[in-house]
Amino acid sequence: MDLQTVNAHVSRVPFFRFLNFEVHSLDSLHAEAEMTFDDRHIGNPVMEYYHGGIIASFMEATAAIAVQPDFADVPAKPINLTVDYLRPGVKGPLLARANVTRKGHRMASVSVQSWQAEREKAVAEGLYHFLLV
């Protein structure tokens, strides 16, 4: 699946447009994406940090694309998630990399890291489950 097609899919999802991100790389088990900062993503207006829910949403979106990049109508169905917030997400681009740790017939388990300037300094890590049926 080529990136142009995937990003065309992404741009058809209203909430993905709200998040405003682009998929940068993709293979059968990984997806990497970059989100552009916007005022509507702010959780702490004084410090201009990303809202934790926006970070979790962006990681969920990246995970769903890693699981089903060729989604027809709606992205992969999420079951649940756990997110660990490690550092504040400051004003600027946010990146995420999703690794599909297991993909069976019915379920998929995906681990996601997000970061800003340095990949080693994670902003958040998450574990997401999807229903594939």
Partner: protein, 160 residues
């Protein structure tokens, strides 16, 4: 009746209004009930938060964002003397597809606070369908206690 003071209510209103450019402004949240025991907030339907072309199915992420926001409010109301608050971790179960154009209702509370940590849980449903929860979440928050109140930081622009 709740034991929440008038002063705290006014602070909540001011803090809510001070969030000019932020996600919760975009979510157009309305506080329905607020006490030290429970906080209930309403989010009107917003097609920007949907995943489908027909715009009737909400993305799970927005429910996660709602829970995170309302947990923060519940902690602000229930805990005295907090100067900063940060989400440590968050778990959300999506119990059924969030397919409706009804308003979303979120109810949350802080079920345990210690000097450093607050523990929260919350439920999400579509208005009029409390018996069919669409999501449930739990979270923990790291608290910093100190002289500068969270309220002052949020409304007077004092950066830490």
């Amino acid at each position: 009746m709740s034991d929440i003071t008038q002063k705290k209510m006014e602070q909540i209103a001011q803090m809510w209004n001070a969030r000019g450019k932020s996600l919760i402004t975009h979510m157009a949240l309305e506080i329905e009930e607020v006490s030290t025991e429970v906080v209930r907030v309403r989010m009107p339907f917003n097609k920007d938060f949907c995943v489908d072309a027909a715009q009737t199915l909400l993305h799970g992420g927005i429910l996660t964002a709602l829970l995170d926001s309302v947990f923060g409010l519940a902690n602000f109301v229930a805990i005295e003397g907090v100067s900063t608050m940060a989400t440590l971790d968050l778990r959300v179960d999506y119990l059924r597809p969030a397919r409706s154009r009804a308003d979303v209702i979120v109810q949350a509370h802080c079920f345990r606070e210690t000097r450093h940590i607050a523990f929260n849980s919350g439920n999400v449903w579509f208005d009029g369908h409390e018996d069919a929860e669409i999501a449930r979440g739990t979270a923990s928050f790291a608290l910093t206690r100190g002289a500068t109140s969270l309220f002052d930081a949020m409304t007077k622009g004092k950066a830490s």
